[in-house]
Amino acid sequence: MHILEAEGLTLRFGGIRALADVAVAVPKGGITAIIGPNGAGKTSLFNAISGFYRPERGTLRFDGADITRVPAHARAALGLARTFQNVSLFRGMTVLDNIKLGGHNRLRAGALGALWYLGRAAAEEARLRAEIEREVIDFLEIDHIRDLPIDALAYGLQKRVELARALAMQPKVLMLDEPVAGMNREETEDMARFILDVQEERGITVMLVEHDMGLVMDISSHVVVLNFGQVIASGTPAEVRRNPAVIAAYLGERAARRRVA
C-alpha cells in the first residue's frame, strides 16, 4: 500500500531541470529515504509534494486522493508535515508557541472567539497545551527550553524544535529535509532514535532527505536515488548500494569535487 504516489513530476527553473518526469511511490508506514548528490532535486521534490512549488507536469496522490491541485495549506491539513533544510522557525516566538503552531489545523477558534478567549477558545488551547507537553515535548526531551526564544538555541536544538512542530501536526506523512546536517555524533544518534520511534510507535510514514549515508542505510526501509532531477534507482538500502548507476553518480560527484579542490 502506498500512501503517497508521484507520477511524472516535472519542474524547471529557467534552463535547469530540477525534476524530470519523477515517479516516486512511498510505502505506508515505512521510512523512505531520498538521496542524491547536491542539486539533484531532493528538496525540490519535497517542495512539490508539500505544495510550495507548482510542477509543470505530473500528478500527486496522497492517501487515496488526487492532491495535484490542492493548495499548500490544505495539504498540511490533510496530514503532510515537513521540516526544512535551512531551519525555518518563527523567530518572534518562543519554542512553545512555535510547536503550538503545528496544532493550528486541529483547533477551531475563529477571530471573534479568540478576541474574547472565553469558553471554547480557552479550553482548546489548554487541551492543545497538555497534548503537546505529553506527546511532543516530553518525547523529544525539550522541556527545559520551552520558554526560550528561538535565537537562544543551538542549531541542533533548533532542528529538534522543528521536528517537534511537525509532530504537533499529528501528520500521516512526515518529510524531513536533512534532519542531521550539521549535527555532531551524539545529536545524530538522538535524532535517529526519534525518527525510528516516530515511525514504529506512532505509525507515521517518514520521508527523509539525507546526505549521511550511515544514517540512511541504518534506518530506512526504502531508498530512492535522484540525480539531475531524475530517479536513477530505487529499492532496499542493500539493493541501492549495489546499483552501478548510483555508484557512478556518487563517484562522479566525488571525482568532480576532487577536480575543483
Binding site: 508539500s50 505544495g51 510550495f52 493548495p71 499548500a72 495549506h73 490544505a74 498540511a76 491539513a77 515537513r82 526544512f84 525555518s88 518563527f90 523567530r91 518572534g92 516566538m93 508557541d97 503550538k100 503552531l101 503545528g102 496544532g103 493550528h104 489545523n105 483547533l107 477558534a109 475563529g110 477571530a111 472567539g113 479568540a114 478576541l115 474574547w116 478567549y117 477558545a121 480557552a122 488551547e125 489548554a126 497545551r129 497538555a130 507537553e133 505529553r134 512542530r165 501536526m169
Partner: protein, 347 residues
C-alpha cells in the same frame, strides 16, 4: 510521570494575570481608571478620552502591521468610515451600543474590498493599496455631500442611553475607557490563540506558515479586518467625543501618526501599543506647553513655530527609535524592569 492536577496547572500557565499580585494591581488599575475623571480635572479627562481613542486605533494597527506585517498607510481613513457611519446611524435613530459595532463592521467591510485584491499579492502592494484607499476615501468624505456633509462635515449627536445623554468629556469617558480596556484585552487575547500565532507566523516567514496549514490569504484578511474593525470603533468614538466628522481629520497625517505610535511603542507588542500611543498623545501637548512658556518669556514669535516643531519632533522620534531602539519603548520598559529586578546584584 505526570500527576493529576497537571491540566489545571497548564491553564494557570496560560492565564493572563496569573499571580495574586498581578490581580491586585489589575484591580487597583481599574479602580483608578474609574475614579480618574473625578480626580483628574477637565483637561486630563479630555486627554484621557483622546488617549482611549488613540489606544484602540493603535491596537488595531499593531495587530495588522506589528503582528502580521501588513503595512497600512490608510488607517485614519478607516477610522473616518467609522466616524461617518456613527453620524449616519445616529441620524437613523440607532443607539450608540449598536452604532459602534456597526461603525466597526462598516470599516471592516470596506477593508475587505481593498484587502481581497491586494492581499493576494505580496507586501508592498498592500501598503500602496491602503495608501490609495486613504486618498480615495478622503475624496469620498469630501465629495459625497448628501451623506458626509462635504468639507464642512457632519455633526454627530451625543450618544444617549434611555434619554441619558453622554455629553461632555466626563460622561463620554465612561464610554471610551471601558471600551479601550476591553479592546486592548481582546487584542492581547488574540495572541494566546491559534489566530494570533498564525498572524505572527505570517509576519516572520509567510511561506513556511503555509506549509504548516495556515491559509495566508484568509489570515491576512482576518488581520486586516480586525485592524479595520478597531479603526472603525475608534472612529465612532471619535465622533461621539468631538461630535463632528470632517474629512481633514482623517487624512494621511493621522495614519502616519498611528504608525509612528506603534513604532515608538514597539511593533508587535500590546504593551508597546499602550506606551507608544500614550507617549505620542502627550508629545504635542508637551510641545504646546513649551511654546506657551517660550511666549510667556518674551519670545512672541514662538507660536508660529509650533506646527513645524511638532513635525520635526515627530519625524525625529520615528527615525530615532528606528535607528536606536527598534523594539521601542516596550523594550526600554523591559530593560528597566530587569534592571530593578536584579538591581542589588548587578549593575
Amino acid at each position: 510521570m505526570r500527576i493529576g492536577d497537571f491540566h489545571a496547572s497548564y491553564r494557570h500557565d496560560e492565564a493572563l494575570f496569573d499571580t495574586r499580585a498581578q490581580r491586585v494591581w489589575l484591580g487597583l488599575l481599574l479602580a483608578a481608571l474609574a475614579a480618574f475623571p473625578f480626580v483628574g480635572g477637565s483637561y486630563l479627562t479630555y486627554l484621557a478620552c483622546l488617549l482611549g481613542i488613540h489606544l484602540i486605533a493603535a491596537a488595531g494597527l499593531n495587530v495588522m502591521t506589528g503582528y502580521t506585517g501588513l503595512i497600512s498607510l490608510g488607517h485614519a481613513a478607516f477610522m473616518g468610515v467609522g466616524c461617518y457611519a456613527v453620524a449616519v446611524a445616529e441620524r437613523a435613530g440607532i443607539p450608540f451600543f449598536l452604532a459602534l459595532p456597526l461603525a466597526g463592521a462598516a470599516s471592516a467591510a470596506i477593508g475587505l474590498v481593498v484587502g481581497i485584491p491586494s492581499l493576494r499579492i505580496k507586501g508592498l502592494y498592500f501598503a500602496v493599496a491602503t495608501l490609495a484607499a486613504q486618498f480615495v476615501l478622503g475624496f469620498v468624505f469630501r465629495e459625497w455631500e448628501s451623506v458626509t456633509g462635504g468639507v464642512r462635515g457632519a455633526n454627530v449627536p451625543a450618544a444617549s442611553l434611555f434619554g441619558f445623554e453622554l455629553a461632555g468629556d466626563r460622561r463620554v469617558y465612561f464610554l471610551i475607557a471601558p471600551l479601550a480596556v476591553l479592546m486592548l484585552l481582546g487584542a492581547r487575547n488574540l495572541f494566546r490563540t491559534r489566530v494570533g500565532r498564525a498572524f505572527i507566523a505570517i509576519r516572520d516567514r509567510d511561506i513556511s506558515a503555509e506549509v504548516l496549514g495556515i491559509s495566508l490569504f484568509r489570515y491576512k484578511l482576518a488581520a486586516f479586518a480586525i485592524g479595520s474593525f478597531y479603526a472603525g470603533v475608534a472612529g465612532g468614538l471619535w465622533g461621539y467625543f468631538f461630535r463632528v466628522a470632517t474629512p481633514e481629520l482623517f487624512g494621511l497625517p493621522l495614519s502616519v501618526f498611528y504608525l509612528a505610535a506603534i513604532i515608538v511603542g514597539g511593533l508587535g507588542s500590546i504593551l508597546g501599543t499602550i506606551l507608544g500611543a500614550t507617549f505620542m498623545t502627550l508629545i504635542p501637548e508637551f510641545l504646546r506647553a513649551l511654546v506657551g512658556w517660550a511666549e510667556a518669556f518674551g519670545l512672541e514669535q514662538a507660536g508660529v513655530y509650533l506646527a513645524p516643531l511638532r513635525q520635526v519632533v515627530f519625524g525625529l522620534l520615528i527615525v530615532g527609535f528606528l535607528v536606536f531602539e527598534p523594539h521601542g519603548l516596550a523594550e526600554m520598559w523591559r530593560r528597566t524592569r530587569r534592571f530593578f529586578h536584579l538591581w542589588p546584584f548587578r549593575t
